[in-house]
């Protein structure tokens, strides 16, 4: 007998196991309807691959696994799919989840299948995919997909395989009965597991010493196989994964670690049986051994129950007394949960249906204040401080709860069991765990929202900046266009101006005025050129210079002539053009405008006259006087024109 270690805490509740062990594992008639939930394991729910109305055979896959942490689901018997809908399922919340309802045809006809006898020459990956496809998830309680557990990766070599046959919770005898009757298959399952894990050096079966028959049943099959059967004193909760590992190996798992981190894999013995059936017999997980017990049941025994059988059906088959039953519990009295409805189906993790009488399990006593007796701390198998956790849970102090390792609590219920004040401690811990997990999820979501908001802001800013940049670019382009027109060669400017002139249609008056201005300025330029020539001649300049000047004078004279002819040309059609305008009705505003034009022209004439007079009086240069007199002439012309126009319009 190998050495065992003793875990801290623990309790010794009445075992109540003998009731259900008096009879062998029974078989029930196939119920009329089976309701198979799509999520019977931890991880992503499987997805239905049949439709309502489909005919299915026993063992046919009805839902596929999704993702890596998921398993498939199979039809427990042959029949027709009659519904795929939300139904109440085995969950502490009493809520509904997707289920497939199969109406049995009572033929129980298997799908064709081919098992692997020689598993030792089959690769681990093939066996693992068979296990996933067979829908095998941990049958001890949590329902973790077994194939995931058996595939810890290269960086975590497994040297110890632990088979959990502890079954420490009162009333439950499913594993005990399974070992007693099917030890050979169980051991073969262990050998398959060992092969998958690369034959670990230690294979240990942990079993409590309250199952002597099971121990005796196993012994002949494990002889010379390298499998060690280790029995240890009965104590609740020895069957917790961490507790069992400590009892068998003396090793403790650090906070948040999984057994694979220290080279161990821990599998429930019911799961090993299911693995054997799946690999050797090609039989997916469609039934399990479930204990039906409690004083409210007339018959207490284990059954090979098809997954999806309703609890109601199970109880009815066992002379169930409604009135005597205080409540129906799925699982054991310590860790199980009360069912809100008896229509709930048995799933892969349902190891026990407990229907106790009122005397057996009285209604919960009201909780009284904590008296700090410390019994919970003594009972805690995880060496936590339950009463401290209780205070912090009441105060919702999440930081302190985590500092006191709330998440190491295995929710075994030992603290609640010993509490003299009947405080539902475990419920406080479960609630706090849920709230902490939710807070963490919300934090992650908040971080996501923050990121998205920052991105949103950045996007808006960027769009704004882009718009601004475009605007700036346009402004810059406009400026450059302006600059380029001024800096371009004169020819270009002239061409541009001419082009502008061509497009721009001036009014006849403006055109005429412009031509008149051109004539005046040309005349002035002639004057200037004449003056310069005269002064050059007078000051005895070189002949060359005089020639240049006379040429300039001639040019100016020519331009003057050109301007005059243009004006004359323009004046010709002007009369014809002006007729319609003259015929037009003249508004008083226009008349007033013309009058203003006449007055201002007169004033300009006056001014020009004054300037000329003062220039003459102050003996200004002849040049200047000439310019001024030309200006005077121009002003006079404009004055005359304005007057004629006014007269025309006035008529």
């Amino acid at each position: 007998m190998s050495k065992t270690w003793v875990t801290p805490g623990g309790i010794h509740p009445p075992e109540n196991k003998h009731q259900s062990l008096s009879k062998p594992i029974g078989k029930l008639p196939i119920p009329e309807k089976l309701v198979v939930p799509l999520s019977q394991h931890i991880g992503a729910p499987s997805i239905a691959c049949v439709k309502v109305g489909d005919t299915v055979l026993k063992g046919q896959k009805i839902a596929d696994s999704t993702g890596s942490v998921s398993v498939a689901t199979h039809a427990p018997t042959s029949g027709t799919v009659t519904a795929i809908e939300s139904r109440p399922v085995a969950h502490s919340s009493g809520m509904n989840a997707s289920c497939i309802e199969i109406t049995s045809d009572q033929q129980d006809q298997w799908i064709s299948r081919q098992g692997i006898e020689d598993f030792e020459h089959t690769s681990s990956s093939v066996l693992l995919s068979i296990i996933t496809e067979a829908g095998i998830a941990g049958m001890g309680g949590a329902g973790f997909p077994t194939a995931v557990k058996l595939n810890p990766g290269f960086q975590r070599p497994i040297d110890t395989l632990i088979i959990n046959a502890t079954e420490c919770e009162p009333y439950i005898t499913a594993d005990d009965a399974l070992i007693r009757e099917r030890a050979a298959e169980v051991v073969e399952g262990i050998r398959i597991l060992s092969h998958i894990l690369g034959n670990p050096s230690d294979i240990l079966i942990g079993i409590e010493d309250n199952k002597p028959e099971a121990i005796e049943a196993l012994k002949p099959f494990i002889r010379d196989t390298g499998i060690n059967l280790v029995s240890f004193p009965t104590k609740y909760p020895s069957g917790g994964e961490k507790q069992l590992i400590y009892i068998l190996t003396g090793k403790e798992l650090s906070n948040g670690a999984i057994p694979a981190d220290i080279g161990m894999v821990c599998v429930n013995i019911g799961t090993t049986y299911a693995i054997k059936r799946a690999v050797v017999d090609a039989e997916p997980l469609i039934s399990r051994v479930t204990t039906v017990t409690g004083e409210a049941c007339g018959v207490n025994r284990n059954y090979d129950v098809l997954i999806g059988t309703s609890v109601d059906y199970l109880l009815e088959q066992n002379k169930f007394d409604h009135k005597a039953c205080s409540r129906v519990i799925m699982g054991g009295p310590m860790m199980g949960f009360s069912l809100t409805s008896k229509d709930i189906p048995v799933v892969k993790t349902s190891n026990c249906i407990l229907a106790p009488s009122f005397a057996e399990m009285p209604a919960e006593q009201p909780a009284q204040p904590c008296i700090r007796c410390g019994m919970c701390a003594e009972a805690c198998p995880a060496s936590l401080l339950p009463q401290q956790l209780f205070w912090y849970a009441q105060a919702e102090d999440h930081d302190r709860l985590q500092a006191h390792n709330l998440f190491d609590c295995i929710e075994c219920g030992a603290c609640s069991y010993v509490c003299p004040s009947n405080i539902p401690l475990v419920q406080y811990y479960r609630n706090s765990k849920g709230e902490i997990r939710q807070a963490q999820q919300e934090k992650i979501k908040a971080a996501q929202a923050r990121e998205r908001f920052e991105f949103h802001k950045q996007r808006i800013e960027q769009a704004e900046q882009e718009k601004e940049a475009k605007r700036a670019a346009r402004r810059e382009a406009a400026k450059q266009a302006k600059a380029s027109t001024t800096s371009d060669s004169t020819a270009d400017i002239v061409a541009a101006a001419q082009a502008r002139m061509a497009t721009k249609k001036n009014s006849p008056e403006q055109e005429r005025a412009k031509l008149e201005r051109a004539v005046t300025s040309a005349e002035m330029r002639v004057q200037k050129a004449q003056d310069k020539l005269d002064s050059a001649v007078a000051s005895n300049e070189t002949e060359e210079k005089i020639n240049i000047l006379s040429a300039a004078l001639r040019g100016a004279q020519q331009k003057f002539d050109l301007a005059k002819t243009r004006l004359a040309e323009y004046s010709q059609p002007e009369t014809t053009e002006q007729e319609p305008t003259a015929a037009k009705e003249v508004t008083p505003e226009e008349l007033a405008k013309l009058e203003r034009a006449v007055t201002s022209a007169e004033m300009r004439v006056q001014k020009a006259q004054d300037k000329l007079d003062s220039a003459v009086a102050s003996n200004d240069t002849e040049e200047r006087i000439n310019i001024l007199s030309a200006a005077l002439r121009g002003a006079e012309q404009k004055f005359e024109m304005a007057k004629t126009r006014l007269a025309e319009h006035a008529n």
Binding site: S39, V89, H91, S92, S93, M95, N96, A97, K323, A324, S326, S357, F358, A359, P362, A363, Q365, P366, A367, Q368, N422, P424, Q427, Y428, R430, N431, K433, G434, E435, R437, Q438, E442, K445, A446, A447, Q448, A449, R450, R452, F453, F455, H456, K457, R459
Partner: protein, 215 residues
């Protein structure tokens, strides 16, 4: 050296102290430069505690501006989505007494909501898309819009701009994966046996017997 110190104790002490102060001053100055923290770390800590709904109910355009304002001395009770929990957390961080929520900025609600667009009524105006602070609404002009429920913070900002009022704020439904254990009901201030009218506390057993008798 020793003689000099003995002869001039005051001077020696002065020199030693000045020397030490120079060395430590240099050290501190170096540390201040080397380990300089950019920005105000308190803002990040406050921002971390705010719910990031970006709803603007506090009067700031988003959670971070409000965090900055709190760091600058603003009231910490302007965040209705965060509720009392957030107020308490910020009060704890800043070591100030926790006030109750300022109702002026809205009421705290326990139920989380997400926006839901009644898609057949949506006219595709994109107004809600522009209003959404976390880009959680998908759609294009003249095409139907829809909300990515997982990304929606329930800020309400899209409801108001909708010209056809086709956006509802629906409470997030608790399904089996979101469900968590409720808190145990706190017992009344009664001694259990008083209430049960049975000194032995074995009321349940007698009840069973009564039932059996009736049957």
């Amino acid at each position: 050296m020793l003689d000099l110190i003995i002869q001039q104790p005051i001077l020696a002490a002065l020199v030693a102290l000045v020397g030490l102060s120079l060395v430590f001053g240099a050290l501190l100055g170096f540390a201040a430069e080397k380990f300089k923290i950019e920005g105000d770390p308190v803002i990040d800590q406050i921002d971390e505690l705010l719910p990031q709904t970006q709803c603007g109910q506090c009067g700031f355009p988003g959670c971070r501006p409000y965090a900055e304002s709190i760091a600058g001395g603003d009231a910490i009770n302007k965040c209705p989505p965060g509720g009392q929990t957030t107020i308490n957390a910020i009060a704890n961080l800043l070591d100030v007494p926790a006030p109750t929520l300022d109702e002026e900025h809205g009421e705290a609600t326990d139920t989380k909501t997400v926006a839901y667009i009644r898609e057949d009524e949506c006219i595709g105006c994109t107004k809600c898309i522009q209003a959404c602070p976390v880009d959680a609404i998908l759609g294009a002009a003249k095409l139907m819009h829809t909300v990515i429920a997982d990304e929606c913070t329930g800020c309400d900002l899209c409801v108001e701009p909708c010209p056809v009022d086709c956006i509802d704020m629906l409470p997030v439904e608790t399904d089996i994966s979101r469900w968590r254990w409720p808190k145990p009901e706190i017992a009344d201030e009664l001694i259990a046996t008083d209430r049960m009218n049975d000194p032995s506390g074995m009321q349940t057993k007698s009840a069973t017997q009564n039932q059996e008798g009736a049957a």
